[in-house]
Symmetry: C2
Subunit: 355 residues, 2 copies
């Protein structure tokens, strides 16, 4: 199949949606993108599995990354795509083939630009972090990702969402002493003792700090609980799994320390974590981008791959068509006008006239 | 194999222990018991699967049941039996082949007695109630179990334990509303809400009522808890499984009503229940039995098959050799002297001279 990059962005999005690309099965779509990119002589292309990096070499002093993942969550009886009332429906329409379509439209049109541009298309964003194509690229070829600023075209409803919160998971363990439930007073009930953990969670006051001008909103929540030995046994262990979403003014280490302090007296085991990203909106490229996009930037509360750019020392924001609340829903859709509008604004910002 | 009922009760116990009879595999032991019973002309025998009922027909105005289960929990590297320092070790030594040995010794010696006697040997007591051999007998042949008084030779350390507490299991369900954990304030956390259930459990004051002269001790405990959808989702349901052990002055219905009242405001689903048994120690046969056994009777706090006799309208007590705390342990054992002592006291009570 051949992608037609001369189509309006909405129609191009539909073409992309109709190439099913659930995480791990992106090859056909990656092939099509690589084929289309290879027709653009001003782009040098690198491929790593189903991830593709295409770079301009305009000799500009500043370089920006435009990045998007090409995989989707599993299809939910929502393929092929369809259009109704100016809305494009289908798996990946919102998250984030509309953003990928904008990348491809920009690549096709910007034979010259105010800034050098690195287009990144990557696989396996919707699954466990170790399979993430952007992580793989950052390990195998970090030099290809080098830039002054990065824009991740994840759905933000057309707003600029700066940075992202970090996430940390920990198991908080309450202990007790086993006994037969007919003589419960001979033991100590670990599930009852876990009430102390839930007390902490219920009383927890989440911070809402302003970081580099953007208001974040933390949260500390139980996401799992388990305990029990048998129907006639007083249990000796109960585990509460908590998820701490923390603002980017805390490091992962500080977040872990905070969780340990909050649950002082309980056994705290950190399971996994991923740092957040500061908004970085005071960087010159970011200032110019925000001004060009219009609207008031807001904080990204969910963790996204902007944190990977942050870890590489590259300020990054999220900005793309589509309502983020619709991501991963069966009813996923995106307004066609919002895709065109995103393309137009970014084109204006990147074209030579915008320099 | 042939059981030798002329052996001292301790040695006979060892013979029984050495015939492995984990629940469901009692046939060889049941065959041996049936064979031994068939040699005793004053007993009429009935067999139902691996349960055996052997009845005297002495024409006495009063009839007592002596009952014991012949199955054991799974072997825990504790067969064959061994003797050390006057203690008999081995799977089932305490729970309750020493009691079964006493039954068989009495059967062999009591060619006449002060009361008619119904010996019941049954299978599958250590597994789910539906497989219980005494339940099967009570459904198939209730007339064979008819009596004025029943003694279950479960381990009680040689004391008389009257009645038993009932048990009820219920699931108490806390609900909430799902949300992404990055925006937890958009949902309602069911695990946090389950803190209210644990509050109730932690504050619960268990009754210790005296029923027919015996002090019971209730208990309401979580025996399981579960909740959670995924590591990044605010869960919408959390279930706490509770076990209510209740004194026999409450019926099953009253116990269920109590649990519903205690957890008012939560969804309460009764999972299963089994009523307790009143001690019945004021019955003439019980008064005589307690006096003959000596010692101060106490309440049975664990649920036992005395409740099945209670349901048939037959007062019942637990009385047998062995420490109940050792039941189901790898280290299970019973003092040989306690077996002999139990046999001697019961023989004295049942023999014609004791009438």
């Amino acid at each position: 199949m051949k992608l037609d990059l001369s189509l309006p962005a909405g129609e191009l999005t539909a073409s992309l949606v109709d190439v099913e690309s659930v995480s791990g099965t992106e090859q056909r779509l990656a092939d099509a993108i690589a084929d289309a990119i290879s027709d653009l002589p001003y782009l040098s292309m690198h491929r790593d599995g189903n991830a593709i990096v295409a770079r301009t070499n305009f000799g500009r002093p500043e370089r920006v990354v435009l990045a998007g993942h090409i995989d989707t969550v599993p299809v939910a009886d929502n393929l092929p795509s369809s259009v109704d009332g100016g809305l494009l429906y289908g798996c990946g329409s919102c998250d984030m083939k509309s953003g990928v379509a904008v990348q491809l439209r920009l690549a096709a049109q910007l034979a010259g630009a105010a800034r050098d541009i690195t287009y990144v298309f990557y696989d396996c964003e919707e699954v466990e972090a170790e399979r993430n194509g952007l992580l793989r690229l950052s390990r195998n070829s970090p030099e290809l990702l080098a830039a002054d600023f990065a824009i991740l075209l994840e759905p933000t409803g057309g707003l600029v969402e700066g940075g992202c919160q970090g996430t940390l998971r920990a198991d908080i363990i309450a202990t007790g002493e086993r006994a037969h439930s007919a003589r419960s007073w001979l033991g100590s009930n670990a599930i009852h003792n876990a009430g102390g953990i839930l007390d902490v969670l219920r009383a927890y006051q989440a911070r809402q700090p302003v970081v580099e001008g953007l208001p974040f909103h933390e949260g500390l929540n139980a996401v799992g609980i388990g305990g029990g030995v048998a129907g006639n046994v007083i249990p000796d262990e109960c585990t509460v799994s908590v998820n701490f979403r923390f603002a980017p003014d805390r490091s992962v280490e500080q977040a872990a320390q905070h969780v340990r302090e909050v649950f002082a007296g309980f056994d705290v085991r950190i399971a996994d974590s991923a740092g957040g990203a500061r908004p970085g909106l005071s960087q010159p490229a970011a200032v110019s981008f925000v001004a060009a996009m219009g609207g008031e930037p807001r904080a990204k509360l969910g963790w996204t791959d902007v944190a990977r750019f942050d870890a590489l020392g590259i300020p990054a924001v999220n900005h793309g068509p589509g309502d983020p609340q619709l991501a991963h829903t069966r009813n996923e859709h995106v307004p066609l006008a919002q895709i065109a509008d995103c393309e137009a604004r970014m084109l204006a910002w990147l074209s030579p006239a915008g320099a």
